[in-house]
């Protein structure tokens, strides 16, 4: 494990991307990370994806919003949060890249666009990164923390900025935009065959809409591509820290290991690993707990020693798995957070976590 601390990491980086599977406290950890930075005097903003309702209410961000809401509190820095609105972020991206209002409206009103912006897998990742880039570029923030959508595949998130430019790189796009008279006006014979076959699968009007959609993007490719490249550069250098959140359960730790492997395939590494929900230590070894359970088995202490053995067994297993994960991420800062009595619903709860992360 790295000898650096999580607090040092927050002081050095400008972007923190919080990754992990669902159900491990990723959103809470993201918010607590931004709060920890605010407590250290930085101007921090957190982009949340789908916060639990009570936490969102407590932060004043229960409505989807595309501008950060400042959360007041007794910290020297600045803390703000927003709940990502995928659809309107996508609309902004289109408007910003369109050559004029007409082109923007043509795209925004197409049903194919609404499909793409609403349901295409990866759209949420893409827009989270767009929002990240926008907040970073604004210069208003020292640290941008991004909570990522729950996904198994870290690379899906890393590839997200290229989603649109890759779609526009599609050979079909090139074929259909070569002509401009809809599906059956496509000049190229081979393309026509493929597109006609496609129409048999999904129906001609779907293909028509797709073609019109692609044609409406004419001239916007470069803007998307440049943005994707700039964002990838930001995520790929020392300005950005990837923070992996896990719980000590074996299945989520397996996912964490898988995530580490994948992120390394992109020549990146996790700067920190945060393990939430650690069980309390009993102060006894597992063997001692087992012996005690045997010696108390026939006494009034049978129940309590069973409780001890259960806890010691589970806690020892947690410790082993966390040690394995630490070994797999030798360059990362490791921070553990104990299992808390209740879910975090308010800023005070976040402060407890922020303190545990930076202690």
């Amino acid at each position: 494990m790295s000898t650096a601390t999580f607090a040092e990491l927050l002081a050095q980086r400008q972007v923190v991307i919080v990754c992990g599977t669902g159900g491990v406290g990723k959103t809470t950890t993201s918010a607590a990370t931004a709060l920890a930075a605010a407590e250290a005097g930085r101007r921090a903003v957190v982009v949340t994806i789908d916060p639990a309702k009570r936490l969102a209410d407590a932060l004043g961000i229960s409505e989807l919003g595309n501008t950060p809401t400042v959360i007041n509190g007794p910290w020297p820095g600045l803390l703000a949060a927003l709940m990502l609105d995928t659809k309107s972020t996508f609309d902004e991206v289109v408007r910003r890249n369109a050559s004029d209002d007409d082109q923007a409206e043509r795209i925004l009103s197409s049903r194919f666009y609404r499909n793409v912006s609403g349901t295409l897998s990866g759209t949420q990742d893409y827009m989270a990164i767009e929002k990240l880039a926008e907040l970073y570029d604004s210069g208003d923030w020292d640290l941008v923390v991004v909570d990522t959508p729950p996904t198994r595949d870290a690379l899906a998130f890393l590839e997200a900025p290229q989603m649109l430019s890759r779609l526009l790189d599609n050979p079909i796009y090139k074929l259909v935009t070569a002509g401009n008279r809809g599906v059956f006006g496509i000049a190229n014979k081979a393309a026509q065959t493929v597109v006609r076959q496609l129409a048999r699968v999904v129906g001609a009007h779907v293909v028509d809409e797709a073609v019109a959609f692609f044609q409406s993007f004419n001239g916007m490719e470069k803007g998307f591509k440049d943005r994707a490249e700039a964002t990838l550069a930001l995520m790929g250098d020392e300005r950005t820290a990837f923070v992996l959140v896990a719980s000590p359960r074996s299945d989520t730790l397996d996912e964490a290991r898988y995530f580490l492997d994948r992120i390394r395939q992109a020549n990146l590494d996790a700067a920190a690993v945060i393990v939430n929900r650690m069980l309390p230590s009993t102060g006894l070894s597992l063997t001692q707990a087992q012996l005690l359970h045997v010696s108390l088995a026939a006494t009034d202490g049978a129940g309590v020693s069973r409780a001890l053995l259960d806890l010691a067994t589970a806690s020892a297993a947690d410790d082993d798995r966390v040690a394995d994960l630490a070994e797999a991420a030798p360059h990362a800062v490791l921070a553990t957070v104990p299992m808390l009595a209740d879910d975090v619903h308010d800023v005070d709860g976040l402060r407890v976590i922020a303190d545990l992360l930076t202690r």
Binding site: V202, G301, G303, L308
Partner: protein, 319 residues
């Protein structure tokens, strides 16, 4: 209720829940309990990774079917079998195109990027085709029961919404017909039910309640009982007087830590289970928390017994 009768109530059980609640283990436990009741079960994984093979102690085999359990020779009482099948969305799309008259151009479609366009043009098509594959297993009738380990988290909703989405997006064409057929399957409670999985904690219970209303009200899909995983077994004697025990101070402290922790978790859990019961009028199958490191065949056997006992505790329903 007699477990055999319970498992005969519909041919397809879709097991869904957010990540980290033990959905895969629950699906395996349901399959195992059905097999114990004499059913022949196909356990389908759609996440693209054979996570259930180790639970049965077998090697994952990619996309081939693997027999995980076969006790069909035993007939007093009759036992069944479990076959594992993994389906990925990409594979389902390729397969569907191959069997629907596009055999010659599937490779060309893949390499030209047209598949990406097909998928973009019709959101949900891949999920739909995974469900289409499951429907095909159902119509073939080689298995009494098909248990589906559905995608995690919010993806479960997207997964179940996909047929209606595709039906409306592609108003004609072969894919439209496929969407209608799959809708017929998932909206017919005698053929398909959704089993939601959660753990007795606040956020997972909230999400389960939200998801269940979305599934029943918006999609018209029938919900079966809810599986609540990781329920701490009740422990007698937690109120013992620690001072009177003949133990060292360190041991007494450890016992105190364990008792406080256990009692605290148990209280939180009871609160959530009560709330779940009050807000969601569905039967609950409670599976015990196991304190073991990994879930293998031994742990599965414990969970299977627990599930069978929960099913037997259900009242008989007149049909």
């Amino acid at each position: 209720m007699d477990p055999g009768r319970f498992f005969a109530s519909s041919r397809v059980l879709i097991v869904a829940g957010k990540g980290g609640v033990g959905k895969t283990v629950s699906a395996a436990t349901i399959a195992s309990a059905a097999s114990r009741s004499g059913r022949s079960v196909l356990l389908v994984e759609v996440a693209g990774r054979s996570a259930s093979a180790p639970i049965f102690g077998v090697e994952p085999q990619g996309y081939e079917q693997v027999t995980a359990v076969d006790e069909t020779e035993q007939d007093d009482p009759p036992r069944g079998r479990i076959v594992l099948q993994s389906i990925t969305p990409d594979q389902a799309l390729m397969e569907w195109l191959t069997t629907h008259g596009f055999k010659g151009i599937v490779t060309r479609m893949a390499s030209s990027g047209i598949l990406e366009v097909v998928a973009t043009a019709t959101p949900g098509i891949k999920d739909l085709l995974v469900l289409g594959r499951i429907k095909a297993f159902e119509s073939e009738g080689s298995f009494d029961l098909i248990v589906v380990d559905a995608p995690a988290a919010g993806h479960a909703l997207g997964f179940l919404r996909s047929p209606a989405g595709v039906r409306d997006a592609a108003r004609t064409g072969t894919i439209h017909r496929q969407a209608v057929e799959v809708l017929d399957l998932i909206s017919d409670p005698t053929r398909c039910q959704v089993v939601l999985v959660t753990i007795p904690e606040e956020t997972p219970v909230n999400e389960l309640i939200e998801t269940s209303f979305a599934i029943e009200d918006e999609m018209g899909v029938r919900l079966g009982p809810v599986v609540v995983n990781s329920v701490l077994p009740t422990l007698a004697g937690l109120d013992a007087d620690l001072v009177s025990l003949d133990v060292s101070d360190a041991e007494r402290n450890a016992l105190q830590t364990a008792v406080t922790f256990r009692a605290g978790r148990a209280a939180l859990q009871d609160e959530q289970l009560t709330r779940l019961g009050a807000e969601l009028p569905l039967d609950q199958f409670r599976l015990p928390q196991l304190f073991s490191t990994t879930i293998g065949p031994d742990e599965l056997a414990v969970l299977t017994e627990a599930l069978l006992a929960e099913i037997e505790a259900l009242p008989e329903v007149e049909s």
